[in-house]
Structure formats: C-alpha cells, structure tokens
C-alpha cells in the first residue's frame, strides 16, 4: 500500500515538474527509505516518456476574476481510460476544453505526443486536431442532417475522402449501434442515440485520444450501460479515452486511472484502488441477519473501539473499520451468542463515491 502511494506521489511530483533530486530529497526527509525512493524515481522517469500520450503542465484558467483551474498537472497514458471526477462547477468541462485547445489557458500548457515528441495543443492546434476527438456533454451534431451525413460531413473536415468517409461512417454506425439509422435525421434520434452518434462523429477521423465529457449524462440506466460498453469497445481498438462523469460508480469500474478535481486543481490521480487505499484506511463490513437484530453486534463493536463508524440501516448494519478481521470475529461471536443467522456479509474497500465524498468534505 505504501509502495503504491509512494509511486503515485512520485509520478505526480514529476508530472508537476519537480526535479528528481527535489522529489528524492523531500521523500527521504519525510522518512521514506532512500533506496526505495531512488528505485521508484528511476522507474517512473523511464516510464513517463514512453507511455504518456497527453501531458498537462501547470495549467491555469480564469474567467474574469474567477479562477477556474490553477496549477493543474496531469498525465494520460496511452491506451488507458482516464477518468476525471469532481464536484459540479469544479472545472471538469473547462479542463477538457483546454485539453483540446478550445480555451486558451492563462498559464501552462497541454502537450500531446505525436511522432515521439510532445506538441503544445495551443501552439500546434491545427496539426494536433486530428489526434484528438471530443464528444461534448450535449451532442455536437447537426440535427437536420442524417447520421450518415453528419459523419461524412465531419470526416470531410478532416480531409477524409468521400468514399473513405462513407466507409468509415458505415463502420462507426455499426460500432455505436446505429447502423439501422444511417438515413435518419439526427434530430429524430433518441438522446442516447444522439450521444452515440456524437461519439461516432468524434471518432470519424480515427483520433488517438478520445475525450468524453459526461458521456452518460441524461441517459437512463440501460443506455448508460450501453454507453459504457461502447467506451470499452472503443478503448479495445487502442484509443486512449479521457472522460469525465458524475457517475462515480461508472468511473470506478471503467477507468484505469482517475483524477480528482477539486479546489481548482487536480488533487489526486491514481487507479481506483490506489485512491481508495491512499485516502481511506477503513474497510466496510456490510452485515444483514435474518431477524435484523443487531444490538449485540453493535454493543460488541463499541466495546472494542475498533470501528470508525457503525451505521444501523433499516435492514442491515454497515461498519467502517481499519481492522476488518477483528470486526468479523466480533460479529461472528455476537451472532452466535444471540442465536441469529447471517443472511449477508460482505467486506470491501469503500467505493470511490465514498472516497470522493470524504475528500470533498475535507
């Protein structure tokens, strides 16, 4: 656990531009073993240039006097699904717009790997536009054009020939599940279908990076599942995906790494498990018995003082503790003594939702 946290810190420190000696000095002074720190530093320094497809360095964006983003550092690896979460108004969409060069930052840069070099999206906008696809929260499509017309239109903007464009459109419509709606006006499609068409449009020029802003917003659960499946499918083709979402459960299950955006900056980056481990020592023990009598269990737990919290729900008991083994022992003993029967028992890390909530509360 400590190793993962250390790796994450080193990665973020390097991405933020700290020099290797500075990072090493800081960590050694903080009590980390010098050898371990050196090994991780070497490992990260070698990994970065090879895997990173997009880097954000010291980004600052203000609208008027309002600072929306400040000191944002980020790095997205090739082929991963990278999630960005944050409270409403934290600047997720602004960050995504900065990633594609739609907004001009006040400070900092966004670079995209191209031909083994990094190019600023702000200085080489035209050249890098073909590398990135962007699906906005609300579909960026022409309602008065058919699905096929939308796709061929956007393909033509990227210099794709008409024949090739039609071929790609046909393929993408099949990928996004709209192959039967090629000649239907986009305005006549359902919300979910429009979303999928929008993603198809974002993919028409075969970008290396696909950015999805709230791809599942305003969709019903079935469509959300379908959309997540589509994202996985796209990712399987090697496309790096950066997405933001309010649905943290989806992010947790879909993304390989997550960045948490709060207080105008990226505060944490890591895999869901790393974040959980880093920001919550507790496990959650979920208990449900036949008679729903949890009094003896609660008394036993309170007696031991090993729980962070014990929550009595209508049907179940929810216990947060850094010592799940001890809690399981106490539950087992109490249930046995009271003659209860365990109906459901589950031990897990807290969800990313809970981590996020805890972080936001901080």
């Amino acid at each position: 656990m400590a190793d993962a946290a250390l790796k994450n810190y080193v990665r973020q420190a390097l991405v933020r531009g700290m020099s290797t000696p500075d990072v090493q000095s800081f960590l050694v002074n903080s009590g980390w073993p010098k050898d371990e720190v050196s090994a991780i530093l070497n490992e990260q320094a070698q990994e970065l240039p090879h895997n990173t497809v997009l880097k954000v360095e010291g980004l600052r964006k203000t609208f008027g006097k309002k600072i929306v983003l400040d000191n944002v550092y980020l790095e997205v690896e090739k082929g991963e699904i990278f999630g960005i979460i944050g409270p409403s108004g934290s600047g997720k969409t602004t960050l995504l717009n900065l990633l594609v060069g739609f907004y001009q930052p006040d400070k900092g840069d966004v670079t995209v790997a191209h031909s083994k070099k990094f190019f600023s999206v702000f200085k080489n906008r035209q050249e890098l536009k073909s590398l990135v696809g962007f699906s906005t929260q609300k579909p960026s499509i022409y309602g008065k054009l058919t699905c096929k017309e939308n796709l061929t239109h956007f393909a033509s903007l990227y210099g794709v020939g008409l024949h090739e464009a039609e071929s790609r459109a046909h393929g993408l419509l099949r990928v996004v599940g709209l192959d039967g709606n090629a000649d239907v006006l986009a305005a006549d499609l359902s919300g979910g279908m429009q979303k999928r068409l929008d993603i198809a449009c974002a993919l028409i020029h075969d970008p290396a990076v696909l950015i999805l802003d709230e791809p599942t917003a305003d969709l019903d659960p079935i469509l959300r599942t379908s959309m997540l499946h589509l994202v996985r499918e796209i990712n399987k083709h090697g496309t790096t995906i950066i997405m933001s979402s309010h649905f943290l459960g989806e992010i947790e299950h879909l993304c390989e790494r997550i960045a948490i955006l709060r207080n105008n900056t990226i505060t944490e980056v890591g895999s869901p498990d790393e974040l959980k481990r880093l920001y919550s020592r507790d496990f959650v023990v979920h208990l449900q018995t036949v008679r729903k009598d949890y009094a003896s269990v609660i008394a036993g737990l309170q007696q031991q003082r090993i729980c962070s919290s014990v929550e009595r729900h209508e049907q179940s008991l929810r216990v947060r503790t850094p010592f799940p083994e001890h809690v399981l022992d106490i539950i087992s003993a109490s249930v046995h003594q009271s003659g209860e029967k365990i109906q459901f028992l589950h031990v897990a890390r807290p969800s990313i939702q809970e981590v996020f909530t805890a972080l936001v509360k901080q």
């Binding site: 594609v100 962007f134 499509i141 008065k144 990227y158 210099g159």
Partner: protein
C-alpha cells in the same frame, strides 16, 4: 472538396428547416407576385376626390366636371370641415376647396386649395400630381381664353396704330409746312416796314402845296381872265383901230374865238376849279387818310411787334409740336414694332409656351418596369441580409459548431462556405424573380444580361457579406434578425423609394448617395433599363465593390475576434 461539402451541408440544414425553405423558395415568388400585381399597370385608379364650394358657379362646376371626367370619383361636401374630415376617415384622398367668389372677374385672384393627407406619403404625390394635372388643364383653357382676348386687343391696337400712322405723317408734314409758313410770316413780318415817314412837315408841305395850287390856280385863272380880257381888249382895240369894217369878220371871228376861249377858259377854269376843289377835297381826304394811315401804321407797328412775338412763339410752338409729333410717331412706331415683333400669337402657345410631354426613356409597359431594379435590389438586400446572418448563426450556435471548430478546417473556410451558400441561394432567388418578372409581368429584365448579372452579383455579394457580419456581431437569431431588418430598413428609408432623395436635408442626401442600396438600385436601373455598359457605371460599381472589400475585411476581423474569444 471541403467547401462543396460545407455548402451542401449548409443548404441541406437550411432547407430541412421548413420555415427557412419556405422563405427561400416561396418568399421571392410571393414578393414578385405581389409586386407584379401591384405595379403591373400605369393607371391611377380609384382616386376619390371631395369638393367644396360655398357657391358653385359655372367656373367651379367646370373644374368639378373636369375632375369627374378624369377617372376620379368626385363627391361634393357641404362644408370644408366635413370634406377635410372625410380625408381623415379615409373616404376620400383629397379635398378640393374653391375660394368664395370663384369666378373670372377683374383683378380677382381665384384659389383652389388642395387638402391632402401627407401621412399617406406614397399616395399623396400621386394624388397631387393627377389632381394638379386635371386642374391645370382646365386652368390652361381659361388662360387661353383670357389671353385670346388680350391678343385681340393688341391686334386691334396694332391695326389702329398702323392706320393712324399716315395721319401722324400728315400731321408732321402739315406741322412742318405751318412751321415753314410761320417762318416766312415771321421773316416777312420782320422785313415789313410799317414805319410812317409822313411826318408833319410833309403834311404841311402838302397843305402848302395845296395852297400854292389853289393860289396859282386862282392866279392862273385871273391871269387867264386877264389874258383873255387883254386879248379881247386887244381885239377891240384892233377893231377900233382898224375900223369896224376892216375885216370885221376876222375880228369878229377872233372875238368869237376869244369868247370861245373865254368860254373854254371859263369852262376850263370852272372845271379846273372843280378839279382844284376836288384836288383840295382829295388832298384833304388824302391828308386825312394819311393821318389815318399814319395812325394805322402806328397801330400796325404795334401790332407787328406783338404779332412778331406771337409768330416767334408760334414758330417755337410749332417746333415743339413737331418734336412731340415726331416723338409720338416714334412711340407709335415703336409700339407697333413691339406688337409686330410678337412672334407667338397663338393663345395656347402663350399660355403654355413650353409643352411638357413626358416620354419614358424606356418602353412604357407598367410601373413594374420602373420599380423593378429597386424591387429586386430590395429583395436581394433583405434576403441576403437575413439568409446570410441566419446561416452564420445556425453555424455559430449549432451544437455542431464546436465540432467544426475542433476540426482542422480553418474558420475562414466555414465563413467562405456560408458566404457562397448565401450567394447561391440569393442568386437562385434572383433567377426566380427575374424569370417570373420577365415571363409574366413583361418587366424589362433582360436588357443587358451581362452587365445586369454582374451588378446583381455585386449587390448579392455586398449584402451577403453585410448579413454575415451581422451574424458574427450578434449571438442570437432574434437579435441578429432584428439588426438585419433594422439595417435593411434604414438603408431603405435613406433612399428614394419612399421619398425623393432631393427632398431630404443636404447632409442626408450625401449619406444617401453613399447608401449601398441606392448605389445598387441606381446601377441596376442604368444597366437594366438604359442598357448602359459596365464602363459607364464603373464609378458606382467600384463603390459597391469597395463596400464588399470593407465588409470582407470587417467580417474577417470579426471571425478572428470570435475565434480568439
């Protein structure tokens, strides 16, 4: 390729919005249909005229009759107020009020007042024009009659002057003759010696002579008597001496002779005496006459002096009179010359020396012919302004605009596609309008197709660019549409479509002269109706192209600014 795809997309998006499609296709059809029906005539139908006169007479009635004969619907009103009120209520278009005592009388001016509703700006000029024509026609008739009377009087004067000219010549001759005679009289009178040389001595001498005559006559008589006596005595003596027998007969005879002589002498003496007496009488009478003559001469001298002065005055007066006569003659001649010099003696020509007949510079067909260039520029202006701004805003506000922006296609390419789309659509509309106008309303649209097409294209480019600029400057379709309509209306108002430019303040006239709508319609009128070449309208065409360049630059800046935002 990209451009074609973008144009295709723009047209598809625009046409698939039913209202837009309707505006693009049906709009121009509707406009040209309405315009054609409205303007496809040259008549002024249904102008309603109200009249009022406190007392209609033959003159005012003749005017009313003339109006009635001129296609106008004429209605008489009982008062001026009701007549004017009828205009306000829309019952009539104009009210004609005849002044009281509207008659052709000596030194009396007649007035006809027209009351019109200037708020109906488009109608008022037409009404005034046709009414004025009608009234002017009748007024001209009256003027012709009055002028004919004057001309007849002049003619009679000229004839009289001509006739009296001989009299004047005679008068002059007579005057000159009189002058000559008076001068002669003056000369003669001057030379006339009326001074009396019969002074007293003369008269005394005459009296003395008369005395001497009398004396010597007496003495002569005495002497004669004495001689005769002596002769008698001698005879006697001789007789005595010679005897009484001596030749007595001879003596006797001598004596008889002497007696006879005596008798003769006595007779002669008596006669002489009588003659002397007569002489005396005559002498006396002569003296008296001389006295009288002298007196008369004295008076004559006085009279001569007075009459000489008079004659002098008479001569002077005659001189003056002659001068006056000559002057009058000259004046008469001059008057006659003036009258003779009047070349125009036809009353109609005097009343209306210049006959105005309005000949259209193009073949007269209908009003549509005249308004067509303005009409088509008007349609192009509004259509281009609206279509291009709608296209810009559709693209700008479309959710897909973001994706367009993210694409490598440069923003100016989108602008170019919108521009070309707008131009194509407006060209399409223009073709529809031109075709329909040409086919169904016989408008003279194909006069000079080449130049007209270039001018139309320039106008389309200009207003498409203007519409795109409006679209770039505003963020919503509502405000942009409002702005486009306002700008179009402003350009329309500062043109000669509603009121003549010449009636505007001078500064506004200057502004209007630079109005692209005015420039466009002017150039189009020249090429379409007058078949002028592009060279002849190059100045205005250059101005239009200059506007295009300026708008293009402004549009580019606006696009770049939006891009930066």
């Amino acid at each position: 390729m990209n451009l074609v795809v973008l144009i295709k997309k723009n047209i598809l998006v625009l046409l698939r919005a039913k209202s837009s499609a309707a505006i693009i296709v049906l709009g121009p059809l509707l406009v040209i249909l309405l315009a054609g029906l409205a303007f496809d005539n040259t008549n002024t139908y249904a102008v309603k005229v109200g009249t009022f006169s406190s007392q209609y007479n033959s003159l005012s009635t003749s005017f009313v009759d003339r109006l009635s004969q001129s296609q106008f619907s004429v209605k008489k009103y009982a008062s001026q107020d009701t007549c004017v009120q009828a205009i306000k209520s829309g019952d009539i278009h104009t009210c004609v009020v005849f002044s009281p005592d509207f008659t052709l009388a000596k030194n009396l001016s007649n007035e006809i007042q027209f009351f019109v509703d200037y708020s109906r700006l488009n109608l008022v000029w037409t009404v005034l024009d046709v009414m004025s024509k009608s009234v002017r026609s009748r007024s001209q008739e009256l003027s012709t009659n009055l002028t004919a009377v004057l001309l007849r009087a002049l003619e009679a004067t000229a004839t009289e002057l001509k006739a009296r000219g001989q009299h004047m010549i005679s008068l002059t001759t007579l005057n000159e003759e009189s002058h000559r005679l008076a001068t002669l009289v003056q000369t003669d009178l001057g030379s006339l010696d009326v001074d009396s040389r019969l002074d007293q001595d003369t008269l005394n001498n005459m009296s003395h002579s008369k005395g001497l005559v009398n004396y010597w006559f007496g003495a002569l008589s005495v002497l004669a008597d004495k001689s005769l006596d002596q002769a008698d005595k001698g005879i006697r003596a001789a007789q005595d001496l010679l005897g009484k027998d001596l030749n007595t007969s001879t003596l006797k005879k001598e004596r008889t002779s002497i007696d006879l002589l005596r008798l003769d002498l006595a007779n002669a003496s008596g006669m002489a005496k009588n003659q002397v007496n007569d002489f005396n009488l005559v002498s006396d009478a002569l003296t008296l006459q001389i006295e009288q003559t002298k007196s008369q001469l004295a008076r004559l001298t006085d009279s001569k002096t007075v009459n000489k002065d008079r004659i002098d005055t008479l001569v002077q007066n005659l001189d003056h009179a002659l001068i006056q006569v000559v002057f009058v003659q000259k004046s008469m001649n001059h008057v006659q010359e003036i009258i003779d010099a009047i070349e125009v003696i036809d009353p109609a020509s005097i009343v209306a020396p210049i006959q105005t007949s309005i000949k259209p510079v193009v073949a007269e067909r209908s009003y549509l012919n005249y308004v067509f260039p303005v009409l088509i520029v008007l349609v192009i202006m509004f259509t281009a302004l609206l279509v291009s701004q709608i296209l810009v805003l559709m693209d700008k506000n479309s959710p897909a605009g973001f994706r367009n922006y993210l694409s490598p296609a440069p923003p100016l390419m989108f602008a170019g596609a919108i521009f070309l789309t707008s131009v194509l659509l407006v060209v399409f509309q223009s073709i529809i309008i031109l075709t329909i106008a040409g086919l169904f309303f016989t408008a003279q649209v194909l006069g000079s197709l080449g130049a007209t097409s270039i001018v139309l294209l320039t106008v389309i480019l200009l207003f498409s660019l203007a519409g795109m600029l409006i679209g770039e400057l505003f963020n919503t379709e509502e405000t942009a549409t409002l702005a486009a309509v306002m700008i179009g209306s402003a350009l329309l108002f500062v043109s000669d479509v509603i009121i003549p430019i010449e009636s505007m303040p001078s500064w506004l006239q200057t502004v209007s002269g630079q109005n692209p709508f005015v420039l466009g319609s002017t150039v189009l009128r020249k090429t379409m109706l007058f078949h002028e070449s592009l060279g002849e309208v190059s100045l205005q065409l250059s101005a239009l192209l200059g506007y295009c360049v300026l708008l293009g630059l402004a549009l580019t800046i606006a696009i770049q600014l939006r891009k930066r935002k």
